[in-house]
Symmetry: D2
Subunit: 303 residues, 4 copies
């Protein structure tokens, strides 16, 4: 298969749709992003990589960060994280409080905001506020030591965070935050505000298609752990559209409201696609279409 040709064809196929969807508006800084952008990168397990469109333009990774924080929590503490967060699909919007209340402070899965706050709190407890293992990981795996949060996005999130504050205080009321609420939120906003390009994200996530093996050949997490992170992505990676994505595309993946999607073909490759406009479920509209094209053209899906 000529992967570069495939990406070129996908870009041409989705071209007429570029600019579709609605850019996330609840974070002012994101609302100002030019919607007419589209990029896609593929990093093969053999190390070769491909890109099309705006694949080297940085964007706000937002909830895609949740995959990496989960991986770091598993690396640091193994299955202990599952005492504090479940791994069931939510069947509800990403920021639902009702479920959290019903479950007495145990979030349904690590990819809902509540679950990611718990994972963030867990990592803070393991590494302390001075260390930032997420930035370390992303920089090393992507090969770009300059990766960092966009301070304006982070400030913008903090200033429009009533819902996340409500969730964090509810977690705290159930005893499922161990650090100070404000410190957890600040770290969480910083993680979501990290800027990376498609090329960088596809590289950074490639260990999930390589059974947990980092770019330098060492093991970040075990093959079983990598397989299981992929399983959680498939069942819970797209808010309440996870089953729909499994049905249409059939790949583990994780989306962010910045318009990015990281998807994994286990044993084959890591993919990142980006287009800012979102569909009604909060996932990149053109990104979903591009992944649909990708699985149709390559025949690669897990099913």
């Amino acid at each position: 298969m000529d992967m570069q040709a495939t990406l070129d064809e996908i870009a041409e196929a989705v071209g007429p749709q570029i600019g579709s969807g609605v850019v996330a508006e609840y974070i002012p800084r994101l609302a100002a992003v030019n919607p007419d952008q589209f990029g896609m990168s593929v990093v093969m397990n053999d190390g070769s990589s491909y890109g099309v469109g705006d694949f080297e333009v940085p964007f706000s990774i937002q909830s895609i960060s949740k995959v990496f924080t989960l991986v770091l929590a598993l690396q640091a503490s193994g299955d202990a994280i599952w005492d504090r967060v479940g791994r069931e699909p939510s069947g509800a919007a990403f920021n639902s409080l009702a479920q959290l209340e019903f479950k007495r402070g145990i979030p349904r899965n690590p990819f809902m905001n509540a679950g990611a706050l718990v994972v963030t709190d867990h990592l803070l407890g393991v590494s302390g506020t001075d260390a930032n293992p997420l930035l370390d990981l992303l920089r090393t795996e992507s090969g770009n030591p300059e990766i960092r949060p966009d301070a304006l996005v982070s400030t913008s999130e903090a200033g429009h965070s009533d819902r996340n504050r409500s969730i964090a205080y509810l977690l705290s009321s159930f005893g499922n935050l161990r650090n100070e609420v404000g410190a957890v939120l600040d770290r969480y906003f910083d993680q979501c505000a990290i800027s990376m390009s498609c090329a960088e994200l596809a590289s950074a996530g490639a260990f999930l298609s390589r059974g947990g093996v980092r770019a330098d050949g060492t093991e970040l997490i075990s093959p079983l752990q990598a397989k299981r992170v992929n399983a959680v992505m498939l069942t819970a990676g797209f808010y309440d559209a996870a089953a729909e994505f499994a049905y249409r595309v059939g790949l583990p993946g994780k989306s962010g409201v910045g318009g990015g999607i990281l998807a994994i073909v286990p044993g084959k490759c890591s993919i990142c696609v980006w287009a800012p406009g979102l569909d009604s479920a909060g996932n990149s509209l053109v990104g979903m279409a591009a992944l649909d094209e990708f699985t149709s053209r390559t025949g690669w899906s897990v099913f």
Copy 2:
């Protein structure tokens, strides 16, 4: 009827139960209250008043304050407050977030914590942070100008307030708080922390048995408004035990986790009873029993 004799009989009847129930533990300062206390006061519409037991001992009025803030909001703005809060029974615990989320930030009624926060925010908007119309009202109607919040209780509430903070930020995320979240919470904690005795509370609430008429004969709210506040108390005054109280006792009333209950016999009298131990629904166990005795002995109920 010899009301003093009736109160003495009630005190004797519930005597063996005094000390029963569980003192509210989530607010440390309240948890330290001596549970073996019981007081009851009745203020008749003719101005006569009666008391038994610890009826002159101040206690933390807690959620009973919500009746008075609702009255002040109705006085200030009429039915406008109902655009921001409903008046249906909750069918759920007093601090449920699930309902609030489902209703998109409109609390079910003004006696749930969420509803009281909205009413507090409304009053702050009307009067500003410098004025305190609640203290003014309680002082004037009770005749005690020294009534004030217990600073230790207020601080204690603020320090154990994750759940209320979660509710307040959720309200704010739906645009149903207009003042700064922290300022609304501080005022709310201060209101709940006010200390009053049974005698003072029965006097302060007597306008509700007099069709809205204050102690000095002027009208605080209209007879129709007073009737309607009584209706809201009957259907929503006891968290999720409101219908149970209507069934057993049959009077409009409002309880607080400090162990106090204010009850109204429209056209006849205002009653306040206090005993710190709570039942499983969060209402004063001995207080409920005393009111049960009261309606049995007097035959006074609204039904």
Copy 3:
């Protein structure tokens, strides 16, 4: 007070609204009722009675029957019925299955369809299928031995009963029906299909304003039981608009989708009003307005 003059004034006041609202459509026989009808009756505790408009025209009593079956169950078995049905407001539509499932087959209150089915089952168990204590009671108290179900309405209900069948089988799955499901449903449809006029219903329900005393001076239920039935009517008599009715009108009452409402002024009188058009909550639109007028003009409410 000149009660006849009051009724005449009410009829004049609501006159322009007569015909408003939507006649119940899910039962074909009811959908064919002429909407331009209005009647109202009052039976005073002194035995005098008054009427205006179509107060002698029979209509389908529907859910108003639930008050009388509850009374008969209390008469037969005392508080035992409360082991099988709660007495909390539903906070949901009258035919919700979700709550019933959550509560494992214990209906929230005896006035929801599920609760009335349990009460009907209980009465069938007490009296057997040959006896019909409901008809006996209604005939004796109203003085009309010809009262009976309208066979066409009953058949019509049975033919459009998927929802009620679903509820009944769910109750049965939780073990909360003791008779055969079909037999319970048939009896339930027959009870709802009973035809009575405002004059007859006001007479039949008057024992609730007389502390449980029948027309012949004997006690049907105790004063305490009568008071408690009134309490359940106030908190649960109007589907999810019960608190709204308490707020606006302030009387215990029970509505039916045939457009009738029975309301009680404890110690004073029994009222029945009828107009076929319903509001969005399923209560008679003009009937609610007439009761609103009634309490405004008489000043009679429980609050």
Copy 4:
């Protein structure tokens, strides 16, 4: 890989657990099954097949039938079935009515009882009551023309069916059943009561590992449809433990309360395992353990 040796090792590994779990009790006929049985079959895409233990003993396929009825509905009508049933995980027990009510009669997915009733109704509408395409398919693909429902199981289910009747009438009340309720239920009970062995079920389901291709080489459904059925099995095949199964085992599968599980390794093989004892989520306890062993030993999972 020596598949027979692998199966022998698995049987030895789970041996100590055989007999664990609780046999389904709500269907008397199933409750009488000897719990100390275990069988497992694998049918490779090259046509070879393997078995261990009681792999030729027939058992009640129960909900595994739902995979085949979904396939037949897709074959007959394509995506039209998705207008009547969703494909989201339920996040709730397999027989929940609450969700069904909230979604106004559209079941969450075709593997919940409600969804399977709708699919059954759809097939009845397509084929009529005389034809039985499900039996035709199972007989042809398994090579056993004697496959049929166990009449005693079917009768037993019909006699303990209050919950399913409740669901069916609720579907009907929302207009989402087109045939007579009793006829749909009878057909549904018959489908669940079909008896097959592990060997037969693995053969019958093998088209899902072959991209929709039947044993005779013809196409039953398209490769895309087969992939999508696999996706629905992965996200919804194990009641509210679907994500857990994806996490632990990582294969599309469908369980039944008879203790059987059908699992698919796309492109490789079809697997059926059976052991009557169930875990708390209603899935075969030993069957789950055997599949866990299978993926560990073969390294075959979709992730």
